[in-house]
Symmetry: C2
Subunit: 251 residues, 2 copies
Amino acid sequence: MKIVLIGSGNVAYHLAKAFHQNDVPLVQILGRNHEALEEIHAATGFPICTDWEKIENADIYIVAVKDNAIQECAQKIPNKKAWVLHTAGSVSYQEIPEGFQRGVLYPLQTFSKRKTLNYQEIPFFVETEKQEEAERVMQWASLLSSKVMYADENTRRQLHLSAVFACNFTNHLFTLAENICQQNNIPFEYLHPLIFETVDKIKTLSPKDAQTGPAIRNDMPVIEQQLNTLTGRPKEIYQLLTESIIEMYKS
Amino acid sequence: MKIVLIGSGNVAYHLAKAFHQNDVPLVQILGRNHEALEEIHAATGFPICTDWEKIENADIYIVAVKDNAIQECAQKIPNKKAWVLHTAGSVSYQEIPEGFQRGVLYPLQTFSKRKTLNYQEIPFFVETEKQEEAERVMQWASLLSSKVMYADENTRRQLHLSAVFACNFTNHLFTLAENICQQNNIPFEYLHPLIFETVDKIKTLSPKDAQTGPAIRNDMPVIEQQLNTLTGRPKEIYQLLTESIIEMYKS
């Protein structure tokens, strides 16, 4: 089974490392950014290439590029009998041109460079145009992860949406908290045990049951005092999230 | 050194366990809720009492009650030479009546019942009315935690504010993500590795540098598609947090 990975960004970097970690060789990693490819090569030893003319023949092409580049990249794949899988959460497999064996391999994770991950723990969601082929792709994907599941397009989009709340927005709140600390010469590290505990709780409690803080207590003196020290976006965010919490628990 | 703890809520529960874990006995835990006190007694073995008439004489009284009950509770303390410390993040020590040795012992943590914690890792912030007494209180508090620091009132309020962003609001985003999952028959557990990784990153990266997702990429097709599937508060929250991320990184 020959596999070519297309892309040189964070997702491509981590997918290449996942293949390497699981002893599944890639015949080629093809991308635009030579420097980024060199970094992937250094981490995995897999052959890299920036020249589309030299794309290798393969059975599976994994297109791990920006959403708006999926179509263009897929069009350039020469072997029309191949599997072509993109890795995007909110993009249809139809973005890949007709004729290929089309599908999706969506890893539900946040990927930053230079961060070691255990890929076996990451959920990979598979979709295939021809449902009867799904089992084959899932079996193959289980070389990468112990958590391979089927998800149709709508489920995958909803997974992506919930991930934006649980990860991207959460991380932005950490950034706003860090800003408050910096403005007051407080080391952000002081908040680490609180943050780790907040997340540790969801292992045993539903987050709905784990809620604490001034909003769920409807503690107006503290809420007003805190609002008065804020301005701009952080103030708007404080106000809106506080209202949302109060409403959720008021009944 | 005789210590009485006043309160029967989550903070009192965990403070009592912290004393117990560190072999520092409490002479009494005084509170209104008999059932909750029984639970604390079962976990620690310390004497409990609901009758203010029977309050024990002590050197230190820790008032771990709701913000708006601190004053009333402190007034009832008979030994006017005692230390009286409240545990609230956003309340002045002046809420304790004059005459006592007044101060604050603020544990920066989110406390839910039936969750085991390592209290030695929790930062405790101390403030005293008479600055020259701070060292004594901090030394005594270091029986509970290896992370005892001084924080004046403003610093403590800012710590509390940043904690609301990093913990309470973050947990609410987890709840909204869980709601999206439930509405689509997706097990919330699928998001666990993503959430654990989001938090693990802040051990090595500033959250500002760790940001990922559609907003930081200014990925309008995905942002609009996701907004279209939302209504009500979650939609407003998506919109506002997305704008805040886009603005923060646009320069």
